[in-house]
Symmetry: C2
Subunit: 411 residues, 2 copies
């Protein structure tokens, strides 16, 4: 019975009703059916592109056109009220779940919590994610973004540093236009990690009537001085690379050496000594090259971090990294003078996931964010993530919050 | 009576004996006298230079000559058994206490604990400190060191990267030669912070019969993988600077841009977010240059870190920084395969001062070091320092351990 129902496609509640009439065991089969429906998202991600003829930044500058990539998992319901927006982190993309092809090495970064029967249940929700403006991975074929590396149709050459500085609020505005193009006017929830958390706070503060639930992960309501300095350190290696040439390198060699070092710092800072010391030892990168005897010989951990950075640098753009640094540095919820005012505008019940070992967003700033949202009676729950990855536990170990996320989305 | 004795100089125990014979109140006056003796160190530091005609590194390479600076506070007693050796940190020098001139902006880095009546009481101890080989501050007129920036008499040009790689053990061997030149064969104590702690462990492990007390501050028995990677990140900006030229820059422009960025990372990593967020806010460096509107405009914390780095870079040498990175990376107490064996050789009672918020030497590595020294019955006490500076609390907030250090030195 179960098999025969599963094989009849497309399945609708009408099918189930009919099945119930046909067989005594029908109801149970139908319940089973609609938790493992064949209309269920099959785990295949497909990148699509949204285009705006022009977009004027919060700073008053015009970018024409703006194109950004997006992907979605699950089905938008008729009422268009089952939408969860996922906003990505600094080095991330819209690839939050699923695989583009069966043999992809890894699925999207939050695949552990997005899918049929998972906390962000694609049988229930329409989960959508988009690439930000100035996305780091400008040369990833699965990313579409608009930034300094994009050709400016007016000149026929890449924008370079003529591209206007953009902010987290600009990322939100472009996402809003994308959602509106699909007729979506409210979000069941917005959820993002790190820079994605900043976008989530900004969404809930800028559009409190359109955000029903807020799930910021490993991010606070503003960029604190420590993070201002950390971001500055991430930018520095690019500026030291002579190929950077004040951002004008698109006709020549890109500043790949600098970009690699920048990405190495990002990897290191987003992790924690617990991870480094649990994962590596004092082994050499090459057993024939003793790092204590040769200036150029290295330890295994150095080589691994260099290899990760080199692989990421191939898809990334150095100016985009600098623009992301500026956007993150500029962030204070509401983009006004006062963090308290920006956070007071948030009305959505809020579930904040964070790590006590986060070396990027220091825990006191996250606790202060929770207090300020809660100050006028908005519900806030603060849940600490465990793990040895520090900041990155919000990306790689998110599944530990499965039950809490599932319940929060259902509340 | 007291006044008249103080004014009689020079004072020796003979004077005191005479005073006791001359007056009934003599004994009390003499005790007072010898705790505030006019022979007390006056807080004036004077740099001296120690030279070895040649020195063969642990790696078997010869450096000729080796010259290093040193300074001492207090008097070496006749038995030559009142010596405390201070070993300096990565960016430090032998200037541990006192002032070279009355109008020096600041005294030596541990002046809070070194001086008459202080825990390292110069009325009692002869406190001596020396510049290491490849000292970072090669161009500081108060530093004498031998390293890549030093002229090699054989060629008449700076050594550059022909200078042999040196290790913490080499620093110890040169210090040992310095002490022997003064007839010193044992140390009442050896004490150092960070890289200075590494030298202290190595002293106690290599020469257990000559070290009576060990006080490592903010440092562990080996460089863990996290620190291997952190040190690698410190080296990277110099290598990105085209002026570095594979270390061959002494005839041209030094890689100052890279050196500044390296020193900025050192400052940031040696601190903690508690310090950054307590000391700075989101202010701009220049109130007319909005960092959210201009790619080149910065926040105050960025400017401050840049200014500190620029000022330190003027006195530093880029190759020396790279050599220090290698020496620190190479460190494992005893320089053998096994940390346990290296630490087991330590016989000196040990007082370890550390910070739970240290982002350079992770606390578990320090606790493990304590356990391994203690494993064969050697006395170890572990004392946590408080403060908001992380690693740097071992330098700037050492005075909180006054009583413990004083008692340990007297035990």
């Amino acid at each position: 019975m179960h098999d025969s129902i599963e094989s009849s496609t497309p399945l609708t509640p009408g099918h189930c009703h009919r099945a119930r009439r046909l067989a005594g065991a029908g109801l149970a089969a139908c319940l089973l059916l609609f938790s493992t429906t064949t209309a269920a998202w099959d785990g295949r991600a497909e990148k699509q592109v949204f285009e705006m003829e022009e977009y004027t930044t919060v700073g008053g500058e015009t970018i024409a056109p703006v194109r950004i990539g997006w992907e979605a998992y699950g089905e938008l319901n008729e009422a268009k009220d089952n939408v969860i927006l996922i906003t990505h982190f600094f080095s991330g993309t819209s690839h939050a779940a699923g695989r583009y092809a069966e043999d992809d090495a890894a699925p999207g970064y939050w695949d552990a919590i997005i899918g049929p029967g998972k906390p962000l249940d694609t049988d229930e929700y329409y989960v959508i994610a988009s690439d930000t403006l100035v996305n780091l991975n400008a040369h990833d074929p699965n990313v579409t973004t608009t930034g300094p590396a994009t050709t400016n149709p007016e000149t026929g050459a890449p924008w370079g540093t003529d591209f206007p500085l953009v902010t987290i609020r600009d990322f939100v505005e472009v996402q809003k236009a994308l959602l509106e193009s699909q007729g979506i006017e409210r979000l069941h929830a917005v959820m993002g990690a790190s820079m994605g958390a900043l976008q989530a706070y900004e969404w809930a503060s800028a559009y409190p009537d359109q955000v029903e639930r807020l799930i910021p992960v490993i991010g606070g309501g503003e960029t604190d001085p420590w993070l201002l300095a950390t971001l500055s350190a991430w930018a520095a290696p690019i500026r030291l690379d002579p190929n950077w040439n004040e951002g004008d390198y698109y006709a020549g060699e890109p500043p790949l050496d600098g970009l690699r070092e920048s990405l190495k710092l990002v990897t290191l800072d987003a992790n924690h000594w617990q991870w480094a010391n649990a994962t590596f030892d004092r082994s050499w990168a090459d057993e024939d090259a003793d790092p204590t005897r040769e200036l150029e010989a290295r330890y295994a951990i150095e080589q691994t971090l260099d290899d990760i950075a080199a692989s990421r640098a191939e898809l990334a753009d150095a100016n985009h990294l600098l623009y992301l640094v500026k956007a993150n540095q500029a962030f204070i919820t509401g983009h006004g003078e006062s963090l308290a005012e920006g956070l007071a505008r948030i009305e959505a019940p809020t579930l904040i996931l964070y790590s006590e070992d986060d070396l990027v967003f220091a825990p006191p700033g996250i606790r202060r964010t929770a207090e300020l949202i809660e100050a006028d009676g908005t519900e806030v729950e603060l849940v600490a993530l465990e793990g040895n990855r520090g900041h990155l536990d919000g990306v790689v170990a998110i599944d530990q919050a499965d039950d809490r996320i599932r319940a929060f989305l259902a509340e």
